[in-house]
Each structure stands twice: as C-alpha cells, then as structure tokens.
Amino acid sequence: ADVDTIAVLTPEQGSDFGWNQQGVDAARAAAEATGVEIIVAEGLGYGDVRAPMRELAAEGADLMLAHASGYNTAGPEIAEETGVPVAIVDSPEALKPGLVADYTLSGHEGAWLAGRLAAKMTTTGTVGIVVSGEPPSWNSQSAGFAQGVQAENPDVKILYSVIGPAAYSDAAGGNRVTTSVIAAGADIIFGQGNGSSFGMIQAVESNKATDGSDVLFIDVIGDKSSLDKGHFLTSVVWDMTPVYTAMIEDLKADKFGTRSYAISLADDSVKLIKTPQVDEAAWAEVMAMRDQIVAGDLSLEPIFDAQAVRDLVTVSE
C-alpha cells in the first residue's frame, strides 16, 4: 500500500523525558527513515481518543500509532470504521491483517540487567522500587528488576512501593514515598512514574542512605541524564524507532497486522545508559550478561501481572 503520512497519538506532551517523548521521537525518526510525513497529536489525555483518531484518518493518515495502553480499545474500532491501519500496544491478541498491529513493549530484559547492576552496587544491601501506578509494561520491568537483583544476590532486600492509584503526576507523593523507602534502608531506587518520577529524583538527591552514602536512581524508558546532578545510575531506555520503521515497511509491503512487534536488547531498542556513577567493573560484567541474553544463552519471561510482581518482592522472613 501507499504510505505517505503517519500519525502518532500520545496522552501527554512529547517532552516528558519518558514514554511520550520516546514515542514521538521514535515516530519522527521512523518517518524520516522511511520518507513519510508525520502528524504528531500529543497531550490527548487518557479519555476517549476516538474523535482525534477520526480526524487524523480524515486528514489522510495512512497509519496511526496509538501510543498508550488506554487507546487499545478505541484503536481497533476506529481502524475498522475508517479503514486506516492502527498500531496499538499491549494487545498481542488484537492483530488484524491490514488493519491492526500490536507492539507489546517490555523492557524486562533491560530492567533485569539494571537489577543485577543495582545488586552489585548497593552498599546498604537494600534496593527500592517505586512506581506511580501499575500498568503492565511497568510491572514487567519491576519484575525484571527484582529478578535481576535476586539473581545477583538473593540477600539483597527489595522494597516495593506504589505511590497511589493514578498518582502519575503526584510529584510530591513520589518524593514522599521515595523518602520513606530510603529511610527504610534503600540506597538505589528503581523508579517508574511519569511526572511523579521528578519527585523521586528530588528525594534521591536530597536524602542520604541509612549508611550515609549517596542514593542513586535508575530511570526507565526515557533518558533524563541531561538533568542529572550526580545521582543517576542508569536508565533502561526504550527506542521504538525500529518497531515503527518495521511497521511502516510492513504496511508498504502489505504485511501489516500479521505480526506483533517488540523491542529487545539485540537491536539496542532496549539498552542501559552509562553514567559517571556506574562502577566500571560492574558495568563490564552486566554488559557481558547482555551479550548472553542477546545470544540466547539466557532467556527471561516477562511478568505483567501486578500481583505477581508483589509476590516477587514481598519479603517474607
């Protein structure tokens, strides 16, 4: 099929150093790579996205990237209604040739590596996971991180804390919960939280660990290292460019909707970034493990269920 314009739809502004920004940036890059026009519709919120989708379809988009799990009911319906192909997330069952494709993004492998790194570097023997909600893609990373920590050193305690239901923009809550987790002994925080993660970072910067050392922060999806004041350990960065590029190409080749897309360590669409705070020796070991995973010597199953995550981290003494 002819593809000359694609559209990407995100719930928040594409400048959040996270999910939305990665989506928009990747869509731009993919459009450039494949030589198509792009319409960016950002900040659409988590409500009903049918109206903007219909409008984008009417404006001639040939593919709509519905970049939020909240859009995966509306997406296929609009695809059906307008005939314009739509890509949605987290719905491998929803494939429909020519109309609906799925990309289920899971950074669990990257998070697993981050977990190993954290377990190597903790001095208090306790690490924390702080999240502002429990969507599946975050759950899989929380689980991956916990499994990584346990694989590295089963003695390291993992504290898990959810700020609150739908606390995505609760920066003060992020700060408060992170502070509590640090007070309870954690010196490395694995944080997932949209707006609230800025609060987590604030807490990491302004509190000392219980043994007096600096607290370090592991971020996900986006790259906030430009904001760093010496407390970033790493980030599990997602790059959706390969996914979007493949989609556009499949669409051109009339193969759209026949497969799911994913990100992985192999093509660096999931990768860890290295900051000055990273211990060189530990980094080398973690990178070696990365290669093992890529080579298929190690395989990790994603876990999407919130309850399963809690079971992993619950400390039962």
């Binding site: 900040g43 659409l44 988590y46 009903d48 409008e55 009911t73 509306a74 059906e80 719905s91 239901p165």
Partner: protein, 363 residues
C-alpha cells in the same frame, strides 16, 4: 486579572444603561454577548502571552468543532454523558441539594454497566442488554448516594462534604472493582470486558453520532418539565427552598430529600452507562474523565434551565472537540479549554451582576 475593572468602569456602565433603557433586545444581546466577547478577549490575551496567535486558535476551534461535518458529529457524541449529568444536577440544584459527588456516581454506574453488558451479549436480545446496563447503572449510582442522602435527610448533615467524600471513595472503589473484580482475563491491561461495537447503542443514521445523544436530550427535557411543571417537581423545589415550610405543608421532607438524591445520583449513573454503552465499550482502571465538576458551572450558567443547559453543553462539547485539534496544530495543550471555560464563567457572572445592578438603578 482585571476583568472586573474592564467591564465595570462607571463610563461603560452608564453608556450601556442609556442604550439599554431604549432597546431591551439590544440589552439582552449586550449582556450575553458582551461577557462572551470579554472572555474570548481575556483568553486571547493569555494565548498571546505564551506566543500563540489567538485568531488562528479560535478559527481552528470553530472549524473543527462546529463547521465540519466530522467535527459536528464528534461534538454531538461527546454531548451525551454531559447531558445526563445536566439532568442529574438540574434535579439536585433546583431541589437545593449540592450533589458534588457525580464523579463517583458516574464512574460506578459506568463500571457496573461495563461489567454486566458484555456478559449478557448473546444471552439476551441486544436492546435488553442495553436496558439492563442502564437500569443497573442508575441503581448503583443511586445506591452510592444513599449515605449522604440518609445523613442529610435524617441528621441534617451538609451534603457538600458527604457527597465529595463519597465521590473520592467511589472513584477509588471503581478502580478497585476494575482491578480486582471485573477484570477482563483476556488482556494484560487492567480493564473490564469490552462490549462489541455492534452491541452498543445504535448510531444515528449514517453518522458516528451515538444515539445516547437522543436519550440525553430526552433526559434533560423530561427533568426540566418535571421540575417546573409538575406537582412532584414543585414538592422537590419546596423542600429545597424552605424545608420547614414543606413540612408545615404536609410533605415528608426526609423522603423527598431521599428522592432527590436517588434521582440525581441515578442520572449520574446513567451518564456513566451512556458513555460506556454508547462510546467506550469498557472501563479501564484509573479512568476518570471528571465530567461532573465541569458540568456544574454549565448548569449554573444556564440557571438550572433545561434548554439553556443543552445549548451550553453543545457549545462546550464543540469547544472540547475543536480544541483537541487546535491543540495539535498550534501546540497549545488541551488544558487551555479550562482557561476558556473559567473566563466565560467569570465574565458571564460579572455580566449577570451588572444586569442586576442596572435593573435596580432603573427602578
């Protein structure tokens, strides 16, 4: 923030007063259009402040929300739940009850509709599935208001605080229900089962407008007539205006108060159902469009009048739809519509005040 001064300077008022004494039609026009214009100018100033061309913005809004066929259909669809909420608030406000808990009632109504309808599809005829969804939503909405209703009716506890509390509770509870009870096992995303498009409220003619619009319009008009033209409506208004007088006249104030809560919350529940059964098809965890708080100013601006509420809801929906598209083109976040609505509210409020003052002066 100088709207008050802008409009209320002695010069302009006396000029307006002079004009108005002669031409009542012109007066009405000035007093409704004036504030609207002022609100638009005020919002435009804010847009200019952040470097956006307000004329472009407004023209996008008009084009996309009102003057394009597609936009108009979207606007009409968006109206349905808002209309049910109008009906809910008109009953409550006219009966002197501040039901500020419509968000919780709305969400729980939505959740129950989303939890039951998909299970009944195929078991029962389509119209019955929808009917059951609506009825259950109304019941659950009403049920969620029973505590504030009892407290108000039998203990005189102010309903503002209780309905707000129950709303916070209801929003959380809806999310708990979705995550723990009505979860769709087929997806990893925490949401209820989805009602297939074909089984939702039918669309109107060949458009994408949900027939929820029609039911919403009927709801508002019926409620309006009930409150203004029937004995039952007068009884409710009596209870709202002076409960002692109502008791003296032999009405059962507690029972009527309960009825107001039940009806108002029931309509809020229906609003939730209309959004789910007409448009969305399912409820996701943590979903909360918070329409309730938004509709309160609209109903108030309409002075609790049904038809006026419909008109305002129409323009508000057009604004929502139009601004979604204007946002994309001009990089102005959606949230700007809130600024516009707030300035409208303030300016129309000021207009009403000036009108009031002018009338006093004339006498």
């Amino acid at each position: 923030m100088s709207m008050a001064d802008e409009i209320d300077t002695p010069d302009t008022t006396s000029v307006q007063a002079a004009v108005m004494r002669r031409r009542p039609a012109l007066r009405v026009a000035l007093l409704t259009l004036g504030p609207i214009l002022a609100a638009l100018v005020l919002s435009a100033a804010i847009l200019l402040l952040v470097g956006v061309d307000p004329l472009k913005y407004y023209s996008y809004v008009l084009q996309r929300g009102l003057f394009s066929g597609l936009g108009l259909q979207q606007t009409a669809t968006r109206m349905a739940p808002l209309l049910f909420l109008c009906a809910s608030l008109i009953i409550a406000f006219r009966a002197g009850i501040w039901n500020l808990g419509t968000d919780g009632q709305f969400l729980l109504g939505a959740v129950i509709a989303a939890a039951t309808a998909p299970l009944l599809v195929g078991v029962l005829p389509g119209w019955l599935v929808l009917l059951i969804g609506f009825v259950l939503a109304a019941l659950v909405g009403a049920l969620w208001s029973i505590l504030p209703a009892l407290l108000r009716a039998y203990h005189g506890v102010n309903e503002i605080i209780t309905t707000l509390m129950m709303s916070f509770l209801g929003v959380l509870f809806a999310s708990v229900l979705v995550k723990l009870v009505f979860l769709d096992p087929a997806t990893t995303v925490p949401q209820t089962r989805t009602l297939p498009v074909a089984d939702r409220l039918p669309r109107l003619f060949e458009t994408s407008i949900s027939s929820g619009l029609i039911w919403g319009l009927i709801a508002v008009i019926v409620v309006h007539l009930m409150m203004t033209r029937t004995a039952f409506g007068l009884r409710l208004r009596m209870v709202g205006a002076n409960p002692h007088a109502a008791a003296h006249a032999g009405l059962s104030v507690p029972l009527l108060t309960m009825a107001v809560f039940a009806l108002s919350a029931g309509f809020a529940g229906l609003a939730g159902a209309s959004e789910i059964l007409g448009v969305a098809g399912n409820v996701r965890a943590d979903w909360n469009p918070a329409y309730g708080l938004m509709v309160i100013p609209l109903v108030f601006l309409a002075r609790f009048h049904g038809i006026a509420s419909i008109v305002l809801v129409f323009f508000y929906s057009a604004l929502l739809i139009g601004s979604e598209s204007a946002a994309r083109r001009l990089g102005v976040p959606q949230d700007f519509t809130l600024v516009l609505v707030a300035s409208l509210l303030i300016c129309l409020g000021l207009g009403e005040y000036i009108d009031h003052r002018l009338r006093q002066k004339e006498q």
